[in-house]
Symmetry: C3
Subunit: 270 residues, 3 copies
């Protein structure tokens, strides 16, 4: 599925009309900003992690977003139970392996979630995606130390093994798993100075996947909207504090014209 | 007690002068914005949930706000212990049954807290309030699917059964439990696109209840100030990102003149 | 070490160039704003609290910031294990005893962490610092009720007993532990109406201590940058909501000229 301003806009309209319920089991750092991003775009977020309720919450959700940013054992258990129910219901699971590679605990937890529940979409930076495939890589905290390009092989391997669409984000974003590789080139450097925008990207994958069954296209649309909203926000922002809020405003205000004006697809690498 | 700009302003001044300590056991999503809203209005927030300290924290608080937004068993236990101490000290308990009706766990927990500790004020959207009364209702996540009007019967029943003032928020806000029904009509539609403003409304109920023993009036004042601050903020906001921060600014800047200009009481239904 | 605009700027440049990884075990209320402040300044934040990973995370960090703002037993254990590893690696530990004095649980936990792990820097308001020394003081929630001045004796005692640099923040900030007392006079009153700026101050101590081995100077530089960024932000802020984001922008935009223009050292008390 080719990505065009038209195809992006169709999904944005669908999200605004359907307001899909996105169930997030995510980290403490980004819960507020993730919920606000989903609300601003038009989706309906819920955050719930307690074992006694995750099954019932997944039961009314349109997508499940699992993010291991501040993981602990109790949360991992809830993620597994929720993921099991999401598979049963065939709603898309999005996995964000935050900091995978930085500690064995994160790598092991992320791999386990990826391999057992074969998410619809896995979204991470280059280091995180590589860490899901092989043991040699150690990321520096939660920030990426590998370029998106070198992570492409890892993404293709993961896609072959798990069937998951794999989305690598960085200065250029790549989406592996559809008939063609999607290369997205929107975004603004100052976005790397705002915490949790990667987590937001994963949450938006959930919103797009809830309305679009072509998962590679859904992920690419999410990345395009992230990047375009970031560029719109950067026009009004003096620094990362004002960028964070202007980004939320942009998700709310984004128009088809904005997308037509700013959408930048990269060259399509083999 | 009739609600007038004068009565609202008297309480705002009292909060600014007394800076009551409001103890919040609330959800991860809104802790930051709730604390900031209380600080901006002039109250003094504290967030504490550990069993070994909640009793002592309640002991120095002017009100206890319990919010089940990201509940889990350990937190429920702490809420119960804190609520027991608050009853003993006769300080007002505010209950926010976030998402009650969406899962059995939330409904059960919210009902248990309501029935055992008979909060001074229960504040929720229509679906949540209805869910506290009867089993047939299922909300969609944490967003309301019932209009405030249809929830009025549920609120009256709860008030009769528990003695709690019940506050239903939506496009129009209702406060049940005083000699007359309060109907508040302030607010702005964009407020529904900011996460956690319902939680903020409950926290502000705590601040007003800490300085005003007429609990129905305290709840109505809190709703009026929420709505007026939201309208003031909407004048300056481009979208929900800037609305969130302008709302905090408005709580800090609000004047008696703002309240006189904007306060809108609805018709008073029987 | 005397504090000058030049010495402050040297550290800011070092943080921007080295982007030290700062491991935070901190409270739920401030995780987002703390991460954003560190990112805006140029450091690289990570939040991780799970027992199975804290040792490995400390192993790649340049400083460990421990903040007891929403403490519970499981987190205290993780803090202790992380602190033990930080001592072993000789990376600086920063302790923020949020609300120590308000409940016995906080006081006991903060004293235990201070006495067992002898942090490089302890930063708190006057009440918190006093509570670490003697039992008679009870703070009102997490806000200070003692002036910074009266806490100086407590800071000197703590410094003698533990060897820690002790930083007392308030309208005037004091740093005890170097050859001379540092007295810093930057800041803006509206900063007290934004939640978690004290926590941010502690996190910035971590960033400065990661690049500057003179810990008293590092703490004083952090306080100066906090205060100057707050003053720059206050120029653009209408209230505490816009102050919070303008403060983040200011950390990102701060220049040597800003520091030269605004730096205010207080008189140096004996």
């Amino acid at each position: 599925m080719t990505i065009t301003p038209k195809s992006i806009w169709t999904d944005v309209v669908a999200i605004r009309e359907q307001a899909p319920l996105i169930h997030n089991i995510t980290n403490y750092v980004v819960m507020n900003t993730t919920a606000n991003a989903l609300l601003a775009l038009g989706a309906s977020p819920v955050m719930a992690h307690a074992l006694p309720e995750v099954v019932q919450m997944v039961d009314i959700a349109g997508a499940l977003v699992i993010n291991i940013g501040t993981l602990s054992d109790a949360w991992i258990t809830a993620m597994e139970v929720a993921a099991g129910k999401a598979k049963e219901r065939s709603i898309p699971i999005i996995l964000d392996p935050v900091g995978s590679g930085a500690t064995d605990y994160r790598t092991r937890s992320a791999r386990n979630l990826a391999e057992r529940y074969r998410p619809a979409i896995i979204r991470g930076n280059g280091s995180e995606i590589i860490s899901l495939c092989r043991a040699e890589v150690r990321t520096k905290g939660v920030d990426s130390t590998d370029s998106s390009d070198t992570a492409l092989d890892a993404a293709r391997t993961l896609n072959r093994q798990l069937g998951s669409v794999v989305c690598i984000t960085g200065a250029t974003d790549y989406v592996v798993g559809g008939p063609e590789l999607h290369v997205l080139a929107n975004g603004h450097p100052m976005m790397t100075r705002v915490t949790g925008l990667g987590c937001t990207a994963s949450a938006l994958c959930g919103a797009f996947a809830a309305v679009n069954p072509h998962l590679d296209q859904a992920a690419a649309h999410a990345m395009a909207v992230m990047g375009i909203a970031g560029e719109l926000a950067a026009r009004k922002a003096a620094g990362p504090g004002s960028l964070q809020l202007a980004f939320i405003d942009s998700l709310y205000l984004i128009t088809e014209e904005d997308i037509e004006e700013l959408f930048k697809s990269g060259r399509e690498v083999v």
